[in-house]
């Protein structure tokens, strides 16, 4: 247990250093490619800190990375944005790391901020022409006209949701993870049954909540909070044994936010589980979605999407996978 705590602390420091260090990468392409060669998909044992230090090597002014436009996507996006030449992107208020750093999406730091700027760049829209607005979760999904081109705050793609809004293709596919205090009884949970007996806290509106209800099915009713801040407070005051969150969030909480916690493990994707893939959310039948899909396709063909994912969403320590059998 001691060594584990030590590892976590090391990772925590590394992530923290990485977050502060990589506030600058103008030529993200080379750097990201380099990073991509050393890493695999999220959840694999790669180091965010390593990727971060590689990227920060070319020290350039802070701000979002510039991305080469893709001719096809750029032509497609012409005149389809809400305001001509400007891409209005929405995210949550507050937005949490590792998706947005310092609650400032404009800085291009953090996974979702980086994805938004990369998509914009690929569609020929420079960082200066990207406007950020904030919407609560509910406003993003309410009927009626939207005041954003797309909204990204870890919206899981499900068929039911897709009846009301339009999703882009997935920009991230991740697993759920469970975390709690490394020295608590919960840390020794091994089987699925052990985890089911824990008192779980989870944030509302997340795919994690769907996972808890549909797949994990804990014996005691889980506590559901407005956001992970509530879940963290509950973990702090010992009201719950463990938090279920998506892996990047779990890594961030255990590594940076709550000292003494550890990610106990990740759950493999289950067939029929909803919302493991996140998409950019558009107003129903927004024409821009095609162009964004072209952009996302181009980004993933050129491995840039993977590089961004690796940079923000992975950790150095291997995390055990929990069997759902």
């Amino acid at each position: 247990m001691r060594t584990r705590a030590l590892t976590i602390t090391v990772v925590a420091v590394a992530v923290a250093v990485g977050l502060s260090a990589c506030g600058s990468d103008d030529d993200a392409d080379d750097a990201d490619e380099e990073a991509a060669t050393t890493t695999a998909a999220a959840g694999a044992s790669t180091t965010a800190a390593e990727a971060a230090t590689t990227t920060s090597a070319g020290s350039t002014p802070a701000g979002p990375a510039r991305v080469e436009p893709n001719a096809e996507a750029a032509a497609c996006a012409q005149g389809k944005t809400l305001e001509p030449g400007v891409l209005t992107v929405a995210t949550g208020e507050p937005a949490f790391p590792p998706y947005v750093v310092d609650d400032t999406p404009e800085n291009g730091q953090g996974f979702e901020s980086a994805v938004a700027y990369a998509v914009a760049g690929t569609m020929g829209i420079g960082p200066d022409a990207v406007e950020w607005i904030r919407t609560p979760f509910e406003a993003a999904i309410a009927p009626g006209p939207k005041d954003f081109d797309f909204n990204l705050q870890q919206f899981g793609i499900t068929p039911e949701r897709a009846e009301v809004v339009t999703f882009s293709q997935a920009y991230y596919t991740g697993n759920q993870a469970i975390l709690g205090y490394a020295d608590s009884a919960a840390a020794s949970a091994q089987s699925l049954g052990d985890f089911q007996d824990l008192r779980i806290g989870v944030a509302a509106g997340t795919t994690s909540l769907n996972f808890v209800i549909d797949v994990l099915q804990p014996t005691e009713e889980p506590l559901v909070f407005n956001d992970n801040a509530g879940a963290k407070a509950a973990l702090d005051s010992k009201q719950i044994d463990a938090i279920i969150a998506d892996l990047p969030t779990a890594i961030f909480i255990s590594g940076v936010e709550i000292e003494g916690t550890a990610v106990f493990g990740t759950f493999p994707p289950v067939d029929g589980t909803e919302g493991e893939s996140w998409g950019l959310l558009f107003a129903k039948d927004n024409a821009l979605v095609e162009c964004v899909n072209l952009a996302l396709g181009a980004l993933s063909d050129s491995d840039q999407l993977e590089a961004i994912t690796t940079k923000w969403m992975t950790t150095g320590t291997p995390i055990p996978e929990i069997s759902l059998e």
Binding site: I141, V164, A204
Partner: protein, 290 residues
């Protein structure tokens, strides 16, 4: 209409005085006008709403009958949770509120600190939004206690926050009631030899409380809805259960279903308040003019 026909008509319209007939006609007239104007407004809404371009979307998002039917039974259990919180908070609020109101009205010089504390308490407690009290106490105190025992639970401290916040309002209602009892009542009681405490207990309070029952009910109706705020502390009560379903399907009908449940309690409570108000007015004035 002749006198004879009036007599033959028996105890019907014609036996009433001219004044009564006139009043009956006026009443019929106001009922007719009310019905016509209601029909007009409702008809306008029914006619206009489907004409608005977003109506189909709104209908699908908020008034989906299938979704309503499937979620409503699931909300009943969580709603019982709300009702339970209400049921244990309400008596505590009334008792604490009364205590504070009396504390604010003590006139003994030696007890001035009590008066000061009561005043400060009301000022502070009423000046902060309820949701903040719930967050501060609900998350804060369990973090101090760090225990799984009952007294360290979120729910207990969320309820304490509700009781605190509402006791401030209720204390002011009681105070208004106490102050509305005429000074001569006190003077008369004291001159009969009753002590200050006895005067308060058996002369002032019985009159004061009777007077403030309607506004108190008003606060209870408000409390009945505000218990849903406890959901920020994690328990899955009706509002939270609905929001889980909303975020799952992006359909807002579960919120409407939850609203209906809350109405099921608050409307009867409101009607009861109206009834009490009416009765109070009749008692005070001898007649009620409609």
């Amino acid at each position: 209409m002749t006198l004879a026909s009036t007599w033959r008509g028996g105890p019907t319209a014609s036996t009433r005085s001219r004044r009564q007939r006139y009043e009956a006609a006026r009443r019929r007239r106001s009922v007719l006008i009310a019905v016509a104007s209601t029909a007009f407004v409702v008809g306008l809404l029914v006619w206009l709403l489907p004409k608005s371009s977003g109506w189909r979307n709104v209908q699908r998002a908020f008034f989906d009958v299938d979704v309503f039917g499937s979620i409503f039974p699931d909300l009943l259990g969580p709603f019982w949770y709300d009702v339970q919180i209400f049921l244990w908070c309400a008596p505590c609020i009334l008792a604490l509120g009364l205590l504070i109101a009396v504390g604010r009205n003590v006139r003994t010089p030696a007890l001035f600190p009590v008066r000061l504390i009561a005043t400060l308490y009301i000022d502070i407690v009423r000046g902060v939004p309820v949701i903040l009290w719930i967050t501060l106490l609900g998350f804060g105190v369990p973090a101090l206690l760090e225990t799984r025992a009952w007294y360290g639970g979120f729910i207990v401290w969320g309820s304490v926050a509700l009781i605190m916040a509402y006791s401030g309002y209720v204390a002011e209602v009681f105070r208004a009631g106490i102050e509305s009892v005429h000074e001569s009542q006190r003077a008369a009681a004291r001159s009969l030899g009753l002590s200050s405490g006895q005067t308060m207990r058996s002369v002032v309070l019985p009159q004061a409380i009777r007077r403030v029952v309607p506004p108190l009910m008003n606060d209870l109706v408000s409390l009945q809805k505000d218990v849903a705020l406890v959901s920020i502390l994690g328990p899955v009560e009706a509002l939270r259960r609905a929001s889980i379903e909303v975020s799952r399907t992006f359909n807002f009908t579960p919120y409407v279903a939850a609203a209906v449940l809350f109405l099921c309690v608050s409307i009867p409570l409101t009607r009861l308040t109206d009834h009490l108000l009416q009765r109070e007015r009749r008692m005070m004035t001898g007649t009620a003019i409609t």
